[in-house]
Symmetry: C2
Subunit: 481 residues, 2 copies
């Protein structure tokens, strides 16, 4: 007779519920018939009675069986009429699949912002509505006739956008490339996703910064990658650490965000960039350079990307429109060897059949337009203003309780809280008070860190937001106001 | 000493090339130094000499080593200067990853159309430029101010589009739903991708139609699913086959395209729909209903979807704009229980952070506009015209050599070729003559079938296209012109 499989990942009670459901559906227990008692089933299947109770509860919740005190458990008559009918166990399907869900903190933040959009948002890594070039984009959209042909796009992305990016990358990032080496993706997120899915295999070791945005991305775990840490100090990661990790774990790829790193705001020091490229070429190790923030450099002149110094061809370069124009366009790009671009474009066809042409047309027009430069200048000034406002308020509200390095680009301030506090509880208290931030542990740090995004909130929200955050912190610790 | 791993999936020569490369990169063999001979290495590593020859060839192709007749194999001096430098083995990265590439036929077709866009396209499953509502969309885009806020979108998709789809689904597909049960995806492709990645686990068995579009999608194999066939006859699949597969393989899900099935054009018969839903509810088995073609029904009044008859909640319903308006908008949707919608929306955030808002706004406006109905009417008339033109030409050119059922909706004609011919060779001959189609084996059929898409070609291309196809067929068989 059937027994549950104790080696299986599936809990015993689920296996038993499935087994009973199947026997019922085959008509072995007709509607209204009595099931064996909990005690008897437990004996037969060699499990605890509590496991059978759980399995019955599961079947009851689907209306498959009914229990009445004193008269045992019967197959439901209403649900199982002449032909037994039932709904797929959708909950169990939703829990299946090899792709992991977002970390609980990220889901909690999203829910907090969806339930009550009036909450002050220091969590979403994007620009406020008044920083994005809405009017410019609207005027471009009404001025141009965009829809010449709305068929499936070229698998690598819209050719005129790629051509525009060739000039853009040369002018703003000192990168020499051609349109055939560019893949347009849905933000940098899709570039990272394609790399983890298509260039790496389960079990491969990769190195990422610590702290890092990558820790917040279950895509790395979903792809079965083993993650190793490269600690970030004031000047970024230490290239020698890569050599050590390579010797120890034979890492296959390194993921870096060298300019205004997310979350720390750090810029990788010049001499380390050189060392890093030497190590990469010595080990034939690919570097993925994620570079979304450079054009936000508040004083202009952002550091050049690694890719511009990469004579050996070690670097996959990723850029995006999300942090400098509008995340809602969903336009990012990757510069990579042709074999890589073709492989990823081919795989992406399977996943979503490519991007819509319209936002790509808008992005190309905007980049080429006379709006782009003035937009960038305004953006830099306003981001710096928001950064200063956040820092002033933190000084006022939390003077001795928080330390940070002042970033010179990007959208975020990374803070260490001096009082010992659980960042999960702190998030709950903050949400209750109408303000949301990202706990440091999302980025792999210990729980005394927080990331504040100052770009997303309106100017007049920053003071009340920090003041509510300070209240939340005070409610959990003994600091004074 | 190190030995290659004979259990590994990696070929021996690659393992050896990697090993040598690593030793060279560590400086164990400095630039210019002599490597051990092929014979000696073969002995040391316990492999055939031919394996070492392959490994050396690989290293030579990257410029890592150099061989000269009579003087053995040396570490390259030019490539490995004072500090040895080298480029990551991108080719090998491109071949890695668990996500499989598109089938060779599909890549060949894409290349044929990219290299020479003047080729007549009976392969791409999309509308011709003159069938898509370009002018309507252009006028909507310039009339509306779309960019109210261009931040990241709601994970389930743009709310006003989902609200519009609630009315659309009720009116055109007799489906009662709410905006919270709808997920907007990048065409139906992304809906299918999310289902295979997030609701099913490697090793799960699923049933698909035979022939089926699904066979052309490596996403099923990439997700590690076991595929079982439901043969399609003139009236679609036979529901009893599902019961048989369930008993034998415990299938977890069924993928169907009941209306104007791709590629056969078949409509699932009414009595089979009822039986199918009975089987599904009996077995608590989810049905994925892909329904992209219904609104093309040439005589109007398309069959109702399974979802509209689904009282038990067995059906995940997928729709799309691609085949009735414009594939380049990349707008599809899924109607599913909330637990499923939320799970898939969460996963999609990881993959691409959601869709651009702009095409979603355009789609919502278009659906609500007075343009939509007249567009559909025009589309139906023109598709029917193209179908008739294709069939007339086939009769003229290939009278006795081809048989087919006449479809009453959709974009495709599915043909059986009577002469015995290899469909791969036939595709090559057709491409040489400037016409492209999809070989039947892409859909899991034997090689005497072809799918012609008549929607994509211009009216005046259909005759010359079929005439070139007939020439290609004649070049390989003994049929008369």
């Amino acid at each position: 007779m059937w027994k549950p499989d104790r080696q299986s990942n599936k809990p015993l009670y689920e296996q038993i519920a499935d087994y009973l459901e199947q026997r019922i559906s085959y008509g072995e227990f007709p509607p209204g018939s009595l099931l064996p008692s909990e005690r008897k089933l437990a004996e037969q299947l060699g499990v605890n009675r509590s496991t059978i109770i759980q399995a019955f509860a599961e079947l009851r919740s689907f209306g498959i069986i009914e229990s009445r005190t004193g008269s045992g458990t019967r197959v439901s008559r209403t649900k199982w009429g002449a032909t037994p009918k039932h709904t797929p166990n959708w909950k169990r399907y939703a829990e299946g699949g090899s792709f992991l869900p977002n970390p609980p903190f990220m889901r909690k933040i999203r829910e907090a912002l969806t339930d009550q959009p009036s909450r002050i948002d220091f969590a979403s890594g994007e620009l406020a509505a008044d920083l994005a070039p809405m009017d410019e984009i609207a005027s471009l959209m009404s001025a141009h006739h965009y829809t010449s042909y709305l068929g499936y796009d070229n698998p690598q992305g819209y050719v005129p956008l790629r051509e525009t990016l060739v000039s853009y990358l040369k002018r703003y990032r000192s990168i020499q490339t051609s349109e055939s080496s560019i893949l347009i993706t849905s933000g940098s997120q899709q570039s990272l996703y394609l790399i983890t899915q298509c260039l790496l295999s389960p079990g491969d070791a990769v190195a990422i910064e610590d702290p890092s945005y990558c820790y917040s991305l279950p895509m790395f775990q979903s792809a079965g990658l083993r993650l190793f840490r490269l600690p970030v100090d004031q000047h970024g990661i230490r290239p020698d650490d890569i050599r050590t990790l390579y010797k120890k774990h034979r890492i296959k790829m390194v993921f870096l965000n060298p300019n205004y790193q997310n979350p720390t705001g750090t810029v990788l020091a010049d001499e380390r960039r050189e060392q890093l490229l030497e190590v990469a070429s010595e080990l034939a190790l690919p570097i993925v350079e994620d570079d979304p923030f450079s054009l936000t450099a508040y004083e202009g002149n952002p550091p050049a990307p690694l890719k511009s110094l990469d004579t050996v061809g070690s670097v996959l370069y990723i850029g995006s429109f999300s942090k400098v124009a509008a995340s809602g366009l969903r336009i990012g790009w990757m510069v990579a060897p042709r074999s890589i671009v073709e492989r990823l474009a081919d795989a992406r066809q399977q996943m979503d059949f490519g991007l819509s042409i319209i936002p790509q047309q808008v992005a190309a027009q905007f980049l080429k337009s006379s709006h782009f430069e003035p937009h960038l200048e305004r953006l830099r000034i306003q981001l710096q203003f928001k950064r200063d406002l956040l820092i002033d308020t933190l000084r006022k509200e939390l003077h001795d309780s928080v330390i940070y390095d002042i970033p010179h680009g990007g959208l975020h301030l990374w803070c260490k809280l001096l009082p010992d506090v659980n960042d999960g509880k702190l998030l709950d208290e903050a949400i209750r008070r109408g303000v949301v931030f990202v706990p440091g542990s999302v980025y792999g740090s210990d729980s005394s860190f927080v990331r504040f995004t100052f770009a997303r909130a309106k100017n007049d929200e920053i003071e009340p937001g920090i003041s509510r955050f300070a209240e939340a912190l005070r409610s959990l610790t003994s600091i004074n106001s």
